[in-house]
Amino acid sequence: MGLRKVAIVGAGLTKFHRYAQETPKELAYEATKMALDSCEMTLDDIDSVCLGTAPDAFDGVHMKGEYLSDGAGGFRKPYMRHFVGGGTGVMSPIHGWFHVASGMFDTCLVVAEEKMSSAFPHPAGAFLTIFDHTTEQPLYPTLIWIFAIEMHRFMHKYGYTKKDIAQVAVKNKANALFHPSAQLGAKITVEDVLNSEVMAYPVNRMDISPTSDGAAAIVLASEEVARRVTEKPIWIDGIGYCLDSAYWCNRDLYYPDYVEIAARQAYDMAGIKEPSKEIHIAEPYDPFTYKELHHIEGLMLCKRGESVKMLLDGVTQRDGNLPCCPSGGALGVGNPIAATGLMKIIEIFLQLREEAGERQVPGQPTCGLAQAWGDLMQVGTVVVMRS
């Protein structure tokens, strides 16, 4: 249908910490500045800015998109925030794609930021108020409940065990040892995961990604600009996003239909017929261990019920046939929500440019995918990228 081509030409990331001293604006600036510098651009070269950041309840500022605008390079520019909960990070390049693909802008700066440490005593408290105020909040639900509920259903459906799923944490935390932004890179064993504190059966502490402060940014450009500023543009060839109903108890949670629908949109746009063969490398969202597997199935990178086999066979290892979360993912690098999604986009960007250093996957990948999830087991956001 003759869509305008849009490329990622630059990227920046901060270090992820549990507690960072920097203000949200300062974190956003550091990532944005690095992204601009990486492609030798300045704010003058930027036509538009879009910001991805998840709940105001983390940073603790109402309308935090407004508060963050100057740190994200939005000064006196067309600047707009988008928000799909935890899926926001991967929604960011999608919203940026709209900016450039519309023909209204030739460049778009895409920034994602989260400072979760501002919320006290723990940012987990922010999640009580994601549930329906009248019919669910009176039961004092937590975020961990809803994940554990979904994980349990997923395990029950396929007979997956906690031991199987723990392998995701082992893989991702090990991958993160080589990521310069990583907060929790570590060499751990399945036993470490199984012996870590029980939070909400079937979820143990090491099944969960940490809360983090951090920011990420990329620069998007039209084909003409991209060819001018870089020899290695990475093209956004497919985008998809889908939101399911907020009535999350009214569906079988074992399978994320919304991820599949988003993936189909992205695959159709990118002309992908057989995702498990045509996608060389993936960054599915892994805020909890089982989520990586849940998403791999939703992304149709394996048949339903086969993600654990894929994991145990080493297919998703960095040197496997379909490396998943070579960055270290949310489990290893850290999880400043929106910034994590954009970190995943940046990982695919670097891998496809063969600039991932010690994390580089073998075999010269040319097609990669990043995905995020969010809300009440509800949002899928998917981006397919090619070199």
Partner: protein, 174 residues
């Protein structure tokens, strides 16, 4: 290529102690954000029926589901829902959790019962039509997916028109 040296300078690592002891400067605040959300037609009726010890849903003739909590429209068929329909206060555990943490990430105190929330498919509502509620009167270890449960209601005079008018669900057979 990400430059590790550059990244290291982007953010300054602190510990909770350093913040709490004032090694770095900080400002505290507690927002005052209060709400009174209008129940409207569907949720208003739902709460009124809970007060009477009944669970009501609204049926969609197109997809045959009984929607609980009720709504005036079916979100999947995008049409007005049809008749009000009581569902039973019995159901099946679709999935559950044994939670050692409270909503604010604090831990359940020693000696207290762990929280055991579940998604419960209510009899009469249709496949996978669940609600979130709590399971009790059973050792958490003995809860299983697929068990039949029944609502344990507060006494009529204690009910206020709330989802907590159901104290919890109890397992009625193995």
């Amino acid at each position: 290529m990400l430059d590790a040296d550059l990244i290291a300078k982007t953010a300054t690592k602190l510990s909770l102690k350093e913040i709490q002891e004032g090694k770095v400067l900080s400002v505290k605040d507690k927002p005052n954000l209060k709400y009174a959300w209008d129940n409207g037609v569907a949720i208003g009726r739902y709460l009124a029926e809970l007060k009477e010890g009944r669970i009501i849903g609204k049926k969609c003739h197109s997809c045959k589901r009984v929607l609980v909590p009720p709504r005036l429209f079916c979100e999947l068929c995008w049409r007005p829902t049809d008749e009000w329909t009581y569902v039973q206060d019995t159901g099946t555990i679709l999935t559950f959790v044994i939670s050692h943490v409270n909503w604010d990430a604090s831990r359940v105190k020693r000696g207290q019962r762990y929280h055991t929330p579940a998604v419960i498919e209510l009899d009469g509502a249709g496949k996978d039509q669940g609600i979130l509620h709590l399971i009790d009167e059973i050792d958490p270890k003995d809860i299983k997916i697929g068990q039949k449960v029944q609502a344990v209601w507060k006494k009529p005079e204690e009910r206020t028109g709330s989802i907590t008018d159901i104290k919890y669900f109890r397992v009625i057979k193995k």
